[in-house]
Symmetry: C2
Subunit: 200 residues, 2 copies
Amino acid sequence: MNLPQPIRKLADHLADLPSIGPRQALRLVFYFLSQGKNEMNELARSIDDLSGLKLCSNCFFVHQNQGGLCDICGDKNRRKDLIAIIEKETDLLSIESTRKFHGRYFILGPIPKTGVLEDWQKLRVQVLKAFIKNEISQQAEEIILAFSPTSNGDFNSSLLIKELSPFTKKITRLGRGLPTGGEIEFADDETLGEALAKRS
Amino acid sequence: MNLPQPIRKLADHLADLPSIGPRQALRLVFYFLSQGKNEMNELARSIDDLSGLKLCSNCFFVHQNQGGLCDICGDKNRRKDLIAIIEKETDLLSIESTRKFHGRYFILGPIPKTGVLEDWQKLRVQVLKAFIKNEISQQAEEIILAFSPTSNGDFNSSLLIKELSPFTKKITRLGRGLPTGGEIEFADDETLGEALAKRS
């Protein structure tokens, strides 16, 4: 069936987004149409408004503050010498919502499946090293490699541990074991093995 | 955590869309950000472009043709006197892709849970009646109520049957029974019951 070109174009665009398939994309397009012009214009404007945001010069999280720093890096009550390296912005939000971390973040970007960091990620690591050198007298107290416990995350952690160990007194990873509320019966072997090894 | 306002605004907007939850909405916003300005502007423009589309004056499907009719209603090879009443545009696409229907469509819009049609839907029904009166000499050959086989769809069908029966020689609904490839073992009682009743 030959759909009008604006519909096909937007549906193709939406289907390229993460976790949106071609069917949901079409459903969304028809939903937009059912919402009328004003709603559509407002959504388009909201997307355009994103382009006014800036990246924090320390941690690369988004912000719209006057200076170059995001809210977290600009907060003097947060420790400078405790840094969690994370893959993505939503990981920052997840960790923040635990209210158990009072250090800074550093967004490395999604770790490529190849195991080798992209050039822009290598540049970011240089920024991190410079920050540690200039702002916290050569060494951080602790760097947490807060990656998901996948084989990809494991592999990259080992690379980063080598690269960053001169810059910190301690490098840690997130704890491994049974998730709270999880039942032993349904835990996979890896998880249960880790839970045994990390018993305390 | 206090997110910049443009992020919150767009995330709220996206979370209002059908089958997108607040977490996926945030993930999408950060994805847009990672795509850079050009991509964002293009997506915004694609959404804006939708507002140039028109609704078919017969069936209310979208089109961008010169006249008032969509591709299907403008196609002289399709039967005028066989009309499938459907809830949404994507249902039209699903039926078209079977290539087994050569009549026209009529989009009624999603049937409200209250069971009572909205005012704009009542107006559409008037348009359908006028079309039948003026263009196919008082009576259609067949009207198919192509609604999903839910209790809501059933209830509305019975109302529409009453309202439309003076305007058509026959009113039908889509066949009920086992889906192709479905196993009897996993069919629910309703479906299996229908399959028994409609055996042929």
